[in-house]
Amino acid sequence: MARTRERIVRWLFLAPAIVYIVAFFCYPVVYNVRMGVTRYTVTSFYTGEAPFVGLANYLSVARDALLDTAFINTAIFTVGSIVPQFSIGLALAVFFQRHFPLNRTLRALLLLPWLLPLVVAGTVYRWILDQDYGVVNQVLLQLHVISEPVPWLTSPGWALASVIIANIWAGIPFNLVVLYSGLEGIPRTLYEAAAVDGARAWRQFWHITLPLLRPVSAIALMLGLIYTIKVFDIIMILTNGGPADSTQTLATWAYFLSFIDLSFGKGAAVGNILILITLVFAAFYLRSARAAFR
């Protein structure tokens, strides 16, 4: 009797969290899956009725030419963001392994871009990449790298690249921090032994750093993927998905379908596709992170 009571008391500490998970994650996700198979429009909000339409939303989304655009853009955006973020983050992490004055302070300052609201990052890049008055064009013109201002955010050819640049900037700190803590975990003695054997810095990097950093790299890359696929704020602030849908990703398209076209069923369908993609990477992530939570 006392033991049962004891167990109930212990579970009571978890109860609010469990109720919360069910109410604010399980229920909305299930709700979204259900919305995906109904014709959910503005009238549904008033009448509370949304007719079941089977896979009609998915078929209509699949027939839409924007699906290909959104898919390709999401892929380019994700890979184009993650590879440079990871490489630059790793280079910086290796660099900051050295001991020098102010190391800690400078490293902390580098976190700032990650902690800022993405809306702020986007706003700043709007200004920096402004075609007429932006500092990037002015400097490039001065240096004669370009002969006329580049329409960074207003031409379909440049917009996606510009959005990616801003997103790389915002994501470097995350990779730096994760990879830095990974590097800290590699025993110094390995490097000392390698140095005694005459291995140069570059060989040490390839044969010690990279292999031993694999588990942490996997976590950084997987979390990076999962976070980047759903990036919304920075694209909306910089280009609103335009010009001519050239920066439309699955996340922004889902928004436009639901909240601008008011076809919540179709928006839900695109959102569910996004969940499926996320789940695939989540499985990889949970496998690599499992050890950390034991």
């Binding site: 709700y31 700043v124 002015q138």
Partner: protein, 264 residues
């Protein structure tokens, strides 16, 4: 070495310098070429405009963020204690559920919460925004706090229990005070998440009544992009919580980044 590092940091933080630089100049001065590298003719006009037009939105953001902190800590602290110290059999399942919950794209949450909140009358309300924002903060806070509470020796709680304190008293009298730093860190992050939120601000409000600053910047950018100095001044205001977090809770940031998946 330090010089190279300073140059790297200066290069990477240049956009932020450029934001401050623009916020301190007159609107007309920003439309000159070449640009002023230093705000020599500085003016606080941009900040005055920002406060006059964006002040109420900053206040809205503050209310929503504080509400999110309160809700998040109320749910997360007991849960983290249970997961870290009470050795419950389902702990690992719940941790995995939290990791998965963190990954659900916000746009999916917005899509279904909009409809759910519409029925509950929570659109265009502070509680609605607080609840929506808390969905990013709660799983994260539980994981970070759990990682923090794992380092509390279990003897501490057991000693209190031997003295006759129940679980609840032990939690309030022993665990909460000992975890003060962790609670502050988790709270600061919850604040930052809510403060930075844009998607829920965009979707959970349909009128101008309750409009966080992120949303008002977005609408500002859409309507008149020529007032760059006041836009940048608003952006500076919106950056303040991040700067504070960095100054006071820097060492928790790395643990927080991955929700405790990578130990610092």
């Amino acid at each position: 070495m330090t010089l190279i590092a300073v140059l790297i940091v200066a290069f990477l933080l240049f956009p932020l310098y450029w934001m401050v630089n623009a916020s301190l100049q007159a609107g007309s001065a920003l439309l000159r070429t070449p640009p002023a590298w230093l705000p020599m003719e500085s003016t606080l006009q941009g900040y005055r405009d920002a406060l006059a037009t964006q002040g109420s939105h900053l206040l809205t953001s503050l209310i929503v963020s504080l509400g999110t902190v309160a809700l998040t800590l109320a749910v997360a602290a007991p849960a983290a204690y249970a997961l870290a110290q009470l050795r419950l059999s389902g702990s690992l399942t719940i941790i995995f559920a939290l990791l998965l919950a963190q990954m659900v794209p916000n746009i999916v949450m917005a899509n279904s919460l909009y409809s759910i909140f519409n029925r509950l009358g929570l659109l265009d309300s502070y509680p609605g925004l607080i609840l929506a924002d808390s969905t990013t903060a709660v799983p994260f806070a539980i994981l970070v706090l759990r990682a923090f509470m794992l380092s509390i020796p279990s003897e501490l709680g057991e000693a209190a229990r031997v003295d006759g304190a129940g679980h609840w008293r032990t939690f309030i009298r022993v665990i909460v005070p000992v975890s003060r730093n962790g609670l502050i860190a988790a709270g600061l992050f919850a604040f930052l998440f809510a403060w930075s939120d844009f998607l829920f601000a965009l979707t959970m409000t349909t009128s101008d009544e309750i409009q966080p600053v992120t949303l008002s910047i977005y609408q500002f950018l859409g309507s008149h992009t020529s007032n760059w100095n006041s836009v940048m001044a608003t952006a500076v205001f919106a950056s303040i919580p991040a700067a504070i977090l960095l100054a006071v809770a820097q060492r928790y940031v790395s643990a927080g980044l991955t929700g405790g998946a990578v130990k610092d």
